[in-house]
Amino acid sequence: MNDRIRFDNVSRFYGDVLGVNRVHLSIPPGVTSLVGPNGSGKTTLMNLMTGLIRPTRGEVSVLGVPPDRPQELFRFVGYCTQFDAFPKGLTGYQFLYSYLRLHDHGHAEADRLAWEALDRVSMREAAHRRVAAYSKGMRQRIKLAQAIAHLPRVLVLDEPLNGLDPMARAETIALFQEWGRQGLYVIVSSHILHEVDRISDQVVLLSHGYVVAEGQIHDVRSEVKEQPLTVMVRCGEPSLLASRLFRENYVVEARVLEDGGLLIRTRDAEGFYLLLNRVVVEDGLELESVAPADEDVGSVYQYLIGGAGGAA
């Protein structure tokens, strides 16, 4: 199968220091977020994927191509690194144009693609200014433009939202979601978990160089059985509902919030939902909404790794 990004028992050490250890991953199309605190191995995985570093052990392949063949790999891979340095003296346009010439695009094609990429990151106005004079947010955007300029199928984006203002963040997130829907492979690393939640089709949780969990966030959450599931219920009579639910064994905690919501914690999600249906029918309660309150990356990360991770 050559339609995945694969890590097969991959380890990488920097001398005695562990980068990542025994990583097995198979990343499908869509938006995949690598989540973990600083030093957890996110950038190491991305650098391994793009051949900037080699595994100490194991094998990596990106859609069947090993990363030590850059002449093939970067035809369909774009990487927005965290490195914030640029070749000296280049303007934003020259930065992209020169990069596209390395891709063997002719002048006209390189020019067209460079302007397209600049437009996608809203940098047309600043195109002829030197990159050295850009703000941090503009540098971040020009790096994004470089990663997408040659229209790659695989996008590897290391902390791509760093330094962006709220408007640019929203636009960039929308771009990621669009690319995910188009079937591109979008690998994003972030330590800002609520943003990851919004964009990810699947997550890879990392801690101290190990993959702690991976998959769709709902599935990962279901695997964390020792932590009760938290559900937010909104209805007309939260106190009545709370008292009815407490009579059964499924609920370990029920709290009526100031805004009228009822926060339930249960160890048996299936049993709880069946009970909820029964109570609603029997007591004639009118439900406004029922939604899991901790099926998000932040909660899952907290459950799996605890506060030590330092993830925001």
Binding site: L52, Q71, G78, Y79, F83, D84, A85, K88, L102
Partner: protein, 281 residues
Amino acid sequence: MTRGMTQWRLWMRQCAAILRLELKKNFFSRRAWWIYLLAFAPVLLTGGHSLDSMRKGRWGCSIGEDVMIYAGIFQFFYLRLGIYFGCVGIFTNLFRGDLLEKTLHYYLLAPVRREVLLASKYVAGLLASVVMFTTSAALAFLLVGYHFGSAWQDFLFRGPGLGYLGWYALTAALACVGYGAVFLILGMIFNNPMIPAAVVMVWEAMNWLLPSALKKVSVIFYLKSLCPTEVPVDEGPWALLAVVTEPTPAWLAVPGLLVVAALILVWAALRARKLEITYSE
């Protein structure tokens, strides 16, 4: 068109794209100023000598003596220091400079074979160094006897002068080829290539003291044998230590140097394949 042909054309185009970026750096970056200074120092020396001779009207020396003075400057200053450190400055920075500035990933994230990147960077360094050093060698030679007026013109155009100039220019270019390859690989291997560069310099400087077999493991040995005028070093107390070796004929020295440079570049290409981005080092 065969696949090989297509590949070759692709590499040429990618090489051209890299050259556009690298030549700008090599010729116009801020760190290039001291290389220009080193490169054109002989022009200042011989130009100054000519001006001084014209101003003071000292015609006591002969064209032969000035040609010998130039040979001394070329062999003992230009080859061993000027071109040597100029090549250190240009070639060690081809990769090390990008690593220090944390910009090497710009190339490594493009669909370019590492070997093509290495060759392109080397060619860029070679073009810059050859232009600087051969131009300077030629200018310095033209100026050293300028004050002799028509006699110097006769020496150049009717005598052996232009031939000498050609050999000096070729020697300077070959020095760039040889030292360039050596310093390119040193820049890839060592975080601080100045220390090994100093070791190589000592080795090259003591070449005249080395036994015949070891003399041949150096760039200067081949370059010296290409110089049209031999400058005797076996005078004074050190002469007792000098080891006299038959100079290598040009037909062997030129391809010999090219082969050694090619071998070093193959080694560098193998290292480039495994090159990793470790900016933190």
